[in-house]
């Protein structure tokens, strides 16, 4: 098939960006969307132009590197899939495809379609862990966890940290990402001792990093390649509320993990 690609090009964080158009011929339906981008980049390189910078790595939907808004939809038209899992069968001859980067204040643009998602790491640093230094663990089977509980935790733990939830949200909120971690760890018995601290600290870090507030629009769960449910945000809000009540001045509490 023959396609017209309209791709966001921006030389650097402070440069002015613009959409550029490229025509790409002989695209096969069996190719993945990123293989189509490889083809475009080969074509650009051969014609003496700079290829489009884009994030990608595992190409099987698990590393969370890839990030593209395709015709205004984070990760494109296939539900429950990252861009790297999208195949060209989803398009037809003559289509015009607009490709843009994730846009959010907390994800500063690096170049073309590449953004910096370091803010997600800082949210995890704020409390997205269970303090369990190496060496002191008791036998794994001494902790009994009901199958349903662990399955629920796993649903949330499936998050790949790609940032599609932020890109899709009209407020650029990171609530689905943060809620998923709070749910994963908060569901498990091992996660209880730090549960309050975790919620307080992670939620506050979201604000500090410049993510917007959640107004329960629900775009995040539609965009999530792992189909994480918006219920995790309810769990986050509940944990945050309970923890806030328990500790009248959350800002006075020490950072968790110490």
């Amino acid at each position: 098939m023959k396609l017209t690609l309209k791709v966001w090009r921006q030389a650097g964080p402070d440069a002015k960006g613009a959409i550029e158009s490229y025509v790409l011929d002989n695209v096969g339906a069996e190719m993945s969307f990123l293989e189509m981008f490889d083809m475009l980049n080969e074509q650009l390189t051969e014609s003496g132009k700079e290829p489009v910078a884009f994030s990608h790595d595992c190409r099987e939907g698990i590393c969370g590197s890839c990030a593209m808004m395709i015709n205004g939809v984070a990760h494109g038209p296939w539900k429950g899939a990252a861009v790297c899992q999208l195949h060209m069968r989803a398009f037809k001859d003559g289509d015009v495809i607009v490709v843009e980067p994730w846009r959010a204040k907390a994800f500063p643009l690096v170049k073309d379609l590449v953004v910096n998602r370091g803010s997600f790491d800082r949210i995890i640093q704020a409390g997205g862990f269970i303090t369990a230094s190496t060496g002191g663990a008791r036998d794994a089977n001494e902790i009994l966890i009901a199958k349903d509980t662990v399955e629920h935790a796993m649903d949330a733990a499936a998050c790949i940290g790609c940032g599609a939830c932020v890109a899709a949200c009209p407020n650029a909120s990171a609530s689905l990402f943060t809620g998923a971690k709070i749910t994963h760890l908060g569901d498990l018995p091992q996660g209880q001792p730090e549960r309050d601290m975790r919620a307080l600290s992670m939620v506050e870090t979201m604000d500090i990093e410049g993510f917007g507030h959640c107004t329960l629009v629900g775009e995040c769960q539609e965009a999530c390649p792992k189909e994480i449910s918006i219920d995790v945000i309810k769990q986050m809000n509940r944990d945050y509320l309970f923890a806030s009540v328990k500790r009248q001045d959350p800002r006075a509490v020490a950072a968790p993990g110490g």
Partner: protein
């Protein structure tokens, strides 16, 4: 000729079961108050790197971690699907540390070190405890106890798993432990920094040179010890199940600074991957080995039988793994299953486009267990398959074909995981230590975490406590010189401005490697490759086109540097494969077989081949570490 290397393994004396304990006691300790004065650099944050960073920081060392990704959570360990082995014997099916040790030695075709492998089996038990404590959501039974599944090369059920995302969950566990140490100021995290050289001062590894991928700035960093946990080199084949960025540059540049490269030809071709779709294919997708628990592998008995699978009657199907290896059946180890698939296709009985595929059929399992159970066990894998191929594996058998997946070879290390360069430690897939000539399924995660959580934190301390070092910083001449070397290479790549793209040369290298150094290797083929690769390298350095500049994000430049290294490593792999005149594990030489099975030669080749760099345009020097087997009997590996 350079002097031969000292390849003393440093495996302690004494009974196998007591070696590690007595070694731990014999090792020197660093006073708790002094640990923060010692700086350790860790390159890579996959399972081995992240767990090493977290554990060493918990002990009190000053740790710096470098990754080329935007976050340590992106490391390729995340893509491991099936599970992690541990000798817990929770299933009461006869498992033990001894049995996991034996299975791993045998699975590796008797080409690994007994002492290292036994220690790995011992640590496996602690790994599961550690991961559960961190909140890794392993699958559970209804009563709340941990669940297990079976994997290839074992007759016990010892694999722990978290759906088809075990690697992801283990990595997230280690990543979270690492992030905690970052928040406490114990680990200095450097993202978007690619390591491009090791710096030696007085013969010891004292730091690294990195290039910031966003700004292009080349800087160097000094430390008391360096750990490379930078993964494997499967992407030398271009097409593999590895992530696109996976590369050999860190270990290759360490090799050129004096670290011996062990058994480079030992590569694992995984039997269950989705077949190649065409010329533009950029990577291959693995279908977890766990599928072979319930899927049955077959091809038509007749050559060139192109009927749809449903029309091929039971009597006309050849379940070749069950036929050839009745006691292990579909759970034969990876190297054996891959070769059997290749044979079936070479005989003209392959299925799908180009005849390069075999069926993995769940029809019987669905009849026996119901669709619901199969969905619970493998649902996400079936979805992945359907998304890629547009075929429904609940209704028709999957088509699979072998693909490059893992490299057992890597930098040589002693029992302390230290390379032939003092102070330079290698962990995870980047070292050669535990898997011999073939890795068993669900053992890579185990090794990465054993190295990082339970071995390096001890052995690095021993190295630091036992070594007198002058303080150095990156103003030292050796650092400036190494930085300059990196800058020059970047500029040289940009100045070529030839006609060929980096990818086109990488693809060509991949074809040479797959053809001559893939599943079946021959003297003649390897000799051809050893002629073709230098010619391609010449073409690369004269005619590659790397657009853009070095002053900002330039993905073509990053790729070019990695491919330049693959073009050298590929040749070394072929030389190693040529010299090893036997078939063992993943290394199959067509000249050495008996009744279609690999023929190992213990008399002449029961050693680790550790290659020593001898300078540009010089043939590398072969060093040998003899392998001694005191506890297992060297036998012909049989899964029949």
């Amino acid at each position: 000729m350079a002097e031969l290397l000292d390849l003393t393994s440093k495996v302690p004396e004494g009974p196998l079961g007591e070696k590690w304990d007595s070694h731990k006691f014999a090792m020197k300790l660093v006073n708790p108050a002094n640990k923060r004065k010692h700086h350790v650099i860790v390159v890579g944050a996959g399972l081995a790197g992240a767990s090493a960073c977290a554990s060493m920081a918990e002990l009190g060392y000053k740790v710096s971690c470098f990754v080329y990704h935007d976050s340590p959570r992106r490391a390729h360990s995340i893509a491991a699907q099936g599970g992690i082995n541990a000798a817990k014997n929770y299933q009461n099916d006869g498992d033990s540390v001894q049995r996991l040790f034996y299975d791993t030695i045998k699975g590796g075709d008797f080409r690994s070190r007994e002492g290292n492998v036994y220690r790995l089996a011992q640590a496996s038990v602690n790994i599961i405890d550690q991961c559960v404590a961190q909140g890794v959501p392993f699958a559970r039974e209804y009563g709340g106890l941990l669940a297990n599944r079976s994997f290839g090369g074992a007759q016990v059920s010892r694999t722990f798993y978290a759906r088809g995302q075990t690697g992801q969950q283990l990595l997230i566990g280690a990543y979270q432990a690492l992030e905690r140490q970052i928040s406490l100021g114990k680990v200095q995290m450097h993202t978007f920094e690619e390591m491009l050289d090791v710096v030696l001062v007085d013969g010891r590894a004292r730091g690294i040179v990195t290039r910031n991928l966003l700004t292009g700035k080349v800087t160097s960093h000094a430390a008391d010890a360096v750990v490379l946990a930078t993964g494997g080199y499967g992407n030398v084949f271009y097409l593999s199940t590895n992530a696109m960025y996976c590369n050999a540059s860190a270990i290759w540049r360490a090799y050129k600074k004096g670290a011996a490269f062990a058994n480079p030809c030992y590569t694992q071709i995984h039997p269950t991957c989705i077949p190649v779709h065409g010329e533009h294919q950029s990577k291959l997708t693995l279908m977890s080995e766990s599928l072979r628990n319930d899927g049955r592998v077959w091809v038509p008995k007749k050559q060139g039988d192109h009927r749809p699978p449903a029309q091929i009657a039971e009597a006309e199907r050849d379940y070749y793994l069950e036929r050839k290896y009745p006691s292990f059946g579909n759970l034969a180890p990876r190297d054996i299953a891959s070769r059997a698939a290749k044979e079936a296709c070479d005989e003209g009985r392959g299925v799908g486009p180009g005849g390069l595929g075999v069926y993995l059929d769940f029809g019987d399992a669905i009849k026996r267990l119901g669709k619901q159970t199969i969905t619970e066990r493998y649902g996400n894998l079936f979805d992945i398959y359907q998304r890629i191929t547009d075929e429904n594996p609940y209704e028709q058998p999957m088509r699979i074909y072998p693909a490059v997946h893992y490299t057992m070879g890597g930098l040589w290390v002693d029992y302390n995981l230290m390379s032939t360069v003092p102070g330079l430690h290698i962990a995870g897939e980047a070292n050669f230590s535990d898997h011999g000539a073939n890795r068993l399924g669900a053992s890579a995660l185990m090794q990465g975490l054993a190295d990082g959580y339970f071995i390096l934190p001890y052995t690095i301390g021993d190295y630091i406590a036992g070594t007198k070092m002058q303080p150095v910083d990156n103003s030292h001449g050796a650092f400036k010189e190494a930085e300059e070397g990196v800058r020059k290479q970047q500029q040289r790549l940009l100045d070529i401005r030839g006609k060929r793209t980096v990818d086109s040369i990488h693809k060509q290298l991949g074809r040479i490697m797959w053809e001559y150094c893939g599943m079946a290797r021959s003297r003649e083929g390897l000799q051809t490759a050893i002629k073709e690769i230098p010619a391609l390298r010449e073409e690369f350095w004269n005619n590659v086109n790397v657009p853009g500049s070095s002053g900002s994000l330039n993905q073509s430049l990053e790729k070019a540097g990695r491919v330049a290294d693959f073009l050298e490593l590929g040749e070394l792999m072929c030389r190693d494969a040529l010299h090893r005149e036997e078939s063992c594990g993943g290394h199959f030489r067509v000249e050495y077989q008996e009744d279609g099975e690999a023929k190992r030669n213990d008399e002449d080749f029961a050693y680790v081949a550790a290659w020593q760099y001898a300078g540009e345009n010089s043939t590398p020097i072969l060093n040998k570490e003899p392998l001694e087997f005191e506890n297992v009997h060297l036998s012909t590996r049989s899964y029949k």
